[in-house]
Symmetry: C2
Subunit: 326 residues, 2 copies
């Protein structure tokens, strides 16, 4: 039976959102044990889950080390409980910096990984093919060597989660030729070209990220974060414009009714809430970061993601891939 | 009468695309003089425009200084001709690095500007409001001081071209709080907070770039380039998916007919070809860079953009704004 520890206090919307997410998840996956960490009086008895009491909340903009000092916080106690409870994973909607450093210090990094990375997946133009992006924002800056290891973690993630065979790894750059890229990217390119760890295919421009060319996109945490949030922003912009178009007049309203089913599926695919957060790849445990502004549904989807990552044994696969001799 | 010098040889698609663009433009703007620079036998006599012969082509991936050594190239001669012909501007679809350094060295930078920037505009959710982004890729890395001056050029551009009043300037970052941002961005934030040159509003996340919050988005050239190309990529992805949806079955085909007009206008707005390139802001002259893969229509739109920038007197406005005492 899988066991996930849930930081109930991290979301901007407070316990209401996380509680709703937990309730939705339990209905769908009664076979998975959830242990909830937070204020007992806010969580209540309704979920039927065990509660670990924690009365402090790590502030959203907490410095990377602040969580370590806040030993009574829901985030600290939740991460800690992964070890104590021998759980498979932990989910939090709290601040990224705090969650990253908390997981790295308490769960420990996988040997061989110097810097964990947030990983997410995009849909692409190729039916059924997903593209994996990392780092989506665990770091603000990275070394070339860290980018090289992101490529390896991305490859292992794509194999374990997206069913990719011999995944093609690309570096996000401002042009496709060698010699393009950020200062760090250019150095990483040289190292990745020589690596035997994975199938490095060179640079890719961000206009290609959704067309299914790449299995894995590697970027430093700042660039990856801007890329991910631009995708979200444009998708939202297009969705709002489509709504406006359909509401224009009677004819367009009829037009909407004719495509409602197909359009609904598509807009759902593009909704960041469906994605449900990102895995912090490179630590001992399935540590999943939900959006800070997660509502109940988004938090539910994050729990589902964590559950799927556990089922796919992603952490073990990464450990084995990074340390093949062990 | 406005006069624009046109590098006919820069596009990936060669003279065919630029010729088509020139022909479309001349039909619409017979009052604007175009001087075409390139291979006489390829340009031919059909356009009725004066031709300056140039038989070399600067390679797309040319080093920044290579153009200066290629004195017989169409790009060099075109930029040179702005001075010699007392023209208002120059348009090229050639390599960004070569065009940037050619313009900076031949047209000279506006006093007070250490680094020119490529500027483009986005549509936003607010009807009629455009958001200006710079730098879209003239540089790969920038200093904090350069980002500060991008803010000023962006403000002046937004006033001259987008009709913005007291434009609100934001820094693109991985979070909205002070203390977020790239290493260079954090330093720039401190300087921009103190500036009296424009209305600095702080950090903005890239998921907000199309919602009309900002008049001006400032980013280093690498980040701006990734952002711009992600917008293009997602727009293309959504467009292709919409087409697929409409082609699904008879009902969806009817659905398409009901929204054809409104949808056409929207997809047109999102088409990068409509935007027609980006102004290289900060040099003496309207220097407009077209996409390297411009087809005839995209090149036409670039010529229209150059024409509009000339009519709006954007270079004089920037000169005055940067050096108010002169």
């Amino acid at each position: 039976m899988s066991k996930i520890i849930v930081d109930m206090m991290g979301s901007d919307l407070g316990c209401k959102a996380t509680l709703e997410g937990v309730t939705l998840f339990k209905k769908e996956h009664p076979d998975c044990e959830l242990v909830l960490v937070g204020k007992k009086e806010e969580i209540g008895e309704g979920t039927g889950c065990r509660i670990i009491e924690a009365n402090d909340v790590v502030p959203m903009n907490a410095g990377a080390l602040q969580v370590i000092r806040m030993k009574e916080s829901s985030m600290y106690k939740a991460i800690q409980a992964v070890n104590e409870e021998k759980a498979d994973g932990v989910v939090s909607a709290g601040g990224t910096g705090a969650f990253l450093s908390g997981c790295a210090l308490i769960l420990k990094k996988i040997p061989g990984i110097t810097r964990p990375a947030l990983v997410t997946q995009f849909p692409t133009l190729i039916e059924g093919k997903k593209t994996v992006l990392l780092d989506c924002g665990a770091s603000t800056e990275n070394t070339p060597e860290e980018l090289v290891s992101f490529g390896l973690m991305g490859k292992l993630y794509a194999e374990a989660i997206c069913g990719a065979k011999d995944p093609e790894v690309y570096l996000v750059a401002n042009g496709t030729e060698e010699g393009k890229g950020s200062v760090v990217g250019k150095e990483a390119y040289k190292l990745m070209k020589e690596t035997k760890l994975y199938n490095f295919k060179g640079n890719i421009e961000s206009k290609e990220v959704l067309n299914g060319t790449a299995d894995v996109l590697v970027a430093d945490g700042f660039t990856g974060n801007v890329l991910l949030k631009t995708v979200e922003g444009v998708a939202k912009f297009m969705g709002k414009n489509l709504k406006k178009i359909y509401k224009s007049n009677l004819k367009t309203k009829i037009g909407y009714l004719c495509v409602k089913k197909e359009m609904g599926g598509f807009l759902k695919m593009m909704d960041p809430k469906q994605t449900g957060g990102a895995l912090l790849c490179g630590v001992n445990g399935v540590a999943v970061k939900a959006h800070g502004n997660s509502d109940g549904f988004a938090f539910f989807r994050t729990l589902v993601l964590a559950y799927e990552l556990i089922k796919a044994n992603v952490v073990e696969e990464i450990k084995k891939g990074v340390n093949p001799s062990e």
